[in-house]
Every structure is written in C-alpha cells, then in structure tokens.
Symmetry: C2
Subunit: 109 residues, 2 copies
C-alpha cells in the first residue's frame, strides 16, 4: 500500500518546506507529529508527504485547496509557536516555498 | 553551510517528485546521482533538494526557470530511460507534480 498522499486533481496549492536539522533532538519528534496531526484538521488540508535523510536534510510538502487555507494555517497559534521554536532550536537552515500545482501524474496503487 | 538550494526570487517552477522505493537497489544510486548531474546541465535548471527516509519514502524537488525547460528535460533521452527503469524496477509508488512557485522565504546562511 502506498504511503504517498492521494490528492484530488489539480489545481491546488503546495507548501514546500525544506530544512536542515540541528543536533538538538529534544521535543522535535513530538512537535513534528503534532503539527502533522494539527494541519490535517485545518480547513482545506489535502495531504502531506515528508522525508528526512540520514544527513539531516528533510523535505515536507503539504497540500492545500487554496492560498487562503495556507494563510489561515500560518496564523494558527500553535503552529506559530512551533515555527518560532523550529527557527531558534531545531532548524539550522530552512526554506519555505508556496506553489500552485498545475499538473500531476503517478502510480499510487 | 547550508545544503539547501539557493534560488533566485520567484516566480519559477518546481517538479515535486515523491516516491516509495522497492527493495531493489541494483543501479539505483548511480542512476539517481547521474540524473542530478545531468539535470544540472540542462537549460533553465535552478536547483534541486532531495531527501529519503529509512522507510524508503523520498521527495526530490527540482526547480526550473520555465515550464518549457521542464518539458525539454522530460524529453531528454537518458532521462526517459531512467524514468522507465524507475517505474519498472526502483519505484513501488510515485507521484509527480508540476507547480509554479509564487513566494518563498527562509534562512540559508
């Protein structure tokens, strides 16, 4: 069975979050799991795929129905605290890119 | 120093490739490295970030100046062979999404 997100046909929006972790592990796993669970409850959330390699470089792509849904998630109080903690503690480097998905294909079954 | 891609300001295009690996390793590492090296030589290539976790789920996001550059890279003969081999041998499941990056921020230094 596929672990990859199954999404509706485009168009929809993607938040591409790439990050390089610090050596500080304290609280990170709990926060990451909590943010995925919390995001999944937000209006317009479509799915998320995430991977992190042994070198500490990770990519998480979350998918949303609209830009407004992304903006609302950014304003979520608990998400704001997690982002601030991430910037000061867990992430050495990071990039966030907001993109409109125009086309997709693949094999999920 | 950051391992993450440094890109020009948006807009530009992203190809979000998520995949779940099979247990077949033969030839995979060489192909993956070769495709990154080859992509980097193509017109309009801006950068690539890639991560794969211990569960075999990986995400590679390549960035391009235009949709036409992405289409040209899809037509590259060696890339076509690698994709076909990937579908039959290395990837259990995969998704490809083409998206226009509208905004970005982050910390790379």
């Amino acid at each position: 069975m596929s672990k990859l997100s199954t999404l509706p046909p485009p168009p929809y929006w993607a938040v591409i979050f790439a990050s390089q972790r610090t050596a500080i592990d304290e609280g990170y796993g709990d926060m990451a799991a909590r943010m995925v669970a919390l995001a999944a409850q937000q209006p317009g959330f479509l799915g998320v795929d995430s991977a992190r390699g042994p070198d500490g470089l990770g990519i998480t792509v979350s998918y949303w129905a609209s830009e407004a849904d992304i903006a609302a998630w950014r304003q979520h109080a608990e998400h704001q605290i997690a982002r601030e903690t991430g910037r000061t503690r867990w992430y050495e480097h990071y990039t966030v890119r907001v993109a409109k998905v125009e086309r997709s294909h693949g094999r999920l079954a």
